[in-house]
Structures are given as structure tokens and as C-alpha cells.
Amino acid sequence: MAEKKVYSKLGEMLAKGEFILTGELEPEKTCDLSHTIQEAKEMAPYVVAANVTDSPLGIVTINSLAASHIIQKEANIEVIWQLTVRDVNKLGIAGMIMGGHALGLRNILSLTGDHPNMGDMPESKPVFDLDSATLCMLVREMVDKGTINGYEIESPPKFHVGAAANPNSNPMEAEVLKVGRKVEAGCEFIQTQVAYDLEKTIEFLTAINKYNVPVLLGIFPMKSYAMAKGFDTFVPGVDVPKDVLAKWKSIKNDYKTDKAKQKKIYDQANYEFFKPFITELKNKDLLGGVHCMAVHYPRIFPKLIEVIKG
């Protein structure tokens, strides 16, 4: 096999087989990205790259291509541009991929995207001309062959492309086979949905191990009891373990008067929960890294470095 080409820090670390940490940034319904840029700056020293979301839950936010470019430039952080196939057809997306390269982006996370029906513009046309696998195919054609539909691109884009997977998925086999299709389509890394169930996660990661693609496990460090409870309630299919919820609740109650102390205890509790979880998966050689999906919690990153170390 020809040596893998490297276009970004993420690509380089993946090629080297380093265990990596990525973060997530969620621009909102605003034209002013200063908050997100601030968060990105705080996260930057610890992560290899950070995802920039594309109107998650179908709720309209500032466009992820524009946001990715601005954040990458202003915060000096490498961005993983989340690109959904929900809103733009194949022709439009091909143009955006060239545009993304011209704006300095080098990593794409190919996503289906949440249906408009779920968001704040439910009347909007759901496009889905491509899907997450065929978007990977398009990126690979444009990058590796320098063509679109066989037509030559004068100066082709350079991108690494990844995709998502869900270790909580039931029936699991359908999800496993779907990962296989994504890898066949040219997906170079996987970032997973948040998983709390170690046994199920092991089963899933073992099943997709045969595809030989680096997997970054989605984790959601919980900044407060409210965040933990909210995540447990509002994220379909992901249950925060009962003992974790109980522990976070007691932190909330025990340190009511000393907020500074409370923060430290929360951070430590996250470390104590995730360290053995990640270590176990790492020891089994099932992971390529960790993807932290908690937004607005940049102070946790030094602790996460501890989690992935060793």
C-alpha cells in the first residue's frame, strides 16, 4: 500500500498511531464568534483538533464552513469541519469542499445531520442528496484522484475525512456493517457518540476492529449535576450511569457554598470516572483516542490529558 498522505496535524497523528484528544466547539445562532473563539483558545493547547458543529439538532446556527475558517484562524486551533449532507446537494457540497480547502481547512467529519423536522425550521427541504458514506466517497475522489465525477479539478483540495458511529446502537450489527461501508467509502477515522456502558463499548469496538480504522471514543465530561442530568434526559439512547448521577448530585449539594471547591471536585470526579474507562479500552488496543463532546467546559482539558496519558 502506498504511504498515507498527510494534510493536517490530525492526519499526521493518526498516521503515526498516536493516542489523541479532540474537542468540540458549537457555534450558535449568532454572527459573533468571540465566545467560541475564546473557548477554542482555552482548548487549543490540549487537543490535536476540534470539531466545529453544523447546525446540530437541525437548529440553525452560523454556517460551519465560515465558523470553521474563522475559529481556525483566530484561535490558532486545527479544526475538524463537521459537514452534514442535510442542507446542500452533491453539487453544492463539492463546491464547498474546494472552498473549505481554499479557506485552510484540512479535516472533514462527514455526517448525515439531524433532520430539519427536529429543529427550528421544520418546513425547510431536507436535501440528503448524499449520505455520510457517499460524502466520504466524494471527498476521497476529489482529494485522491483530483476529480469530481471524473472531471479534473485544476488544483484539487486536500482533506482527511472521518465519520461517526454509535456504540450504543441497537441492533449493533447494523451499525457495525454501516461502519464497514463508511470505511470502504474512504473514511479515515471514526468519532463515536458518547458511550457510558463499558461492556457494550468493548463489544462494539471489538466488532469494528476488523475495519482497521482509528476510533476516537466520544466522552461527555459533566461540568455539573445539571449537565449530567440534562444529558441523561435529553440525549436519546445514552444513559448516564445511576451512580454517576448520584455522585454528581452529592457534589452539587455538598459544596453549595464553596463554588471554587465544587468546580475542582467535579473535575476530579470526571477524571476518576473516565480514567479507568479509557484505560481499559486503551489496554485492549481498541481506541485511537478520545473525542470530548462537552462544550463550554474547556477547563477540563488538562484533566483529560491526564486521562489519556500512560
Binding site: S169, N170, E173
Partner: protein, 221 residues
């Protein structure tokens, strides 16, 4: 069959605002099954029109309004006196039914507007009267041989060629709050049952729109 539902009468009344003398035409095939042009529905419509102050100068079933040949025959029964009076037509049929009538009107030199009384949803299975499921979107390149006979265009809320997406939860689809089945899990289960998961493993290319979508006719003679 082609499944239809009734439009709100207010919308129909608004369309007929400028017209007083109406000829009502109704489909004798699919829309009857959909209980949109059966006897009860027709009587209901006649009543609505009357209450709205309209003068229904004539009404008649057309056996299959979407079939131009059949329309030519059924047209013979429409009396000339009604045609002399009519300001507008109203039809209870699918969208194709009305448009076939336009061709008939051209042939017969009828220069009067025709309005639709129903909404058309698609090509459906009739489970029983009152339960219809749209099963085919007429995409023109049937994929059922690859999907265990379950259509990904109509059974997947996103019409994905490679599913399931991350929105499926225990076999249910994120769209509509996990009440409907995820089409791609149905496809998976069906293929598994018939021992053809090899088909589920296949990466499918993006839908090819070259010859699809608009202005489509099937002409082979």
C-alpha cells in the same frame, strides 16, 4: 393505489371564489378507496358547495380520471346544457387525474378553470380503509432488489442510500419522535431474515438524479 386526502373546504371555497356554476367530477378508482370520492364524500362535497352558495350544474363520476382514453369516453355523458352554464370545474381525484383532464379540455376546446379538491400523497399500500402507507415515490430506478424489498426512499425519513443514520434508536426513527420504524433497520432485519446480509454490506452510490425528477414521461412507442 394513489392515496389522497380531502382538502379543507375553506381552501376549495377560496379557489372557487370567483365562480358560481360548478361541474363536479370525481374519480371512480383510487380516490374511492381512499374514501375521498365515494358516495358519502361526493354528497358531502355537494352539500358544502350548496352551503357556500354555489350552483352545481352537473356532477359525474369519471372512472379513472388519470386515463385520458377513459376520459374521452366518460366525457360523452356530460350534457351540453351544463357545459353552456359552467364557470369552473372541481375534481375529486389525484393530481394526475386533474392534469389528464386538462388534456381532455384541450381536445374538447373547454376553456374553463378546473380546481382540485384533494391532496395527493403517493403510491401506497392499502392496509385497510383508513390506513394507507406510501411505499413508493416513483424514483424511476427501483432499488428493491438490493434492500430486501423495502424501499429506502419512502421508508427512511431522509431517503438515504446508506443507512441507518445516527438518528435510529432501538429500530425507531428520530423523525417523528421515535414513533415510526427506521426504514434501514427494517431493511437490515429483512435481509438478515432471508440470509442476504451481503446486500446490506454493499456500499451504494448516491442516488442518480440525471433522468429523474421533473418533466418525466415514459414513452416507448
Amino acid at each position: 393505489m394513489i392515496v389522497t386526502t380531502k382538502k379543507d373546504f375553506e381552501e376549495i371555497e377560496d379557489a372557487l371564489k370567483r365562480y358560481n356554476n360548478i361541474i363536479l367530477i370525481y374519480c371512480g378508482t383510487c380516490s374511492v378507496t381512499a374514501q375521498c370520492s365515494d358516495e358519502k364524500s361526493v354528497n358531502e362535497m355537494l352539500e358544502h358547495l350548496k352551503n357556500a352558495g354555489k350552483n352545481v350544474v352537473y356532477h359525474q363520476e369519471f372512472k379513472e380520471p388519470c386515463d385520458f382514453r377513459q376520459d374521452l369516453q366518460d366525457w360523452r355523458n356530460v350534457p351540453q346544457e351544463a357545459l353552456d352554464k359552467v364557470d369552473a370545474f372541481l375534481i375529486l381525484s389525484c393530481g394526475a387525474g386533474l392534469q389528464a383532464m386538462l388534456d381532455l379540455f384541450d381536445r374538447k376546446n373547454i376553456v374553463k378553470p378546473i380546481f382540485i379538491g384533494l391532496n395527493t400523497h403517493g403510491i401506497a399500500e392499502t392496509e385497510r380503509i383508513g390506513r394507507f402507507h406510501v411505499k413508493c415515490a416513483g424514483c424511476g430506478d427501483c432499488l428493491l432488489n438490493y434492500t430486501g424489498g423495502i424501499c429506502p426512499v419512502t421508508s427512511c425519513a431522509k431517503g438515504l442510500m446508506n443507512g441507518p443514520c445516527g438518528g435510529q434508536l432501538d429500530g425507531k426513527c428520530e423523525v417523528g419522535n421515535y414513533e415510526k420504524d427506521c426504514g434501514w433497520i427494517l431493511i437490515y432485519e429483512r435481509l438478515k431474515k432471508i440470509g442476504r446480509l451481503d446486500l446490506f454490506k454493499q456500499l451504494r452510490p448516491a442516488f442518480n438524479w440525471t433522468d429523474r425528477g421533473h418533466q418525466k414521461s415514459v414513452v416507448f412507442r
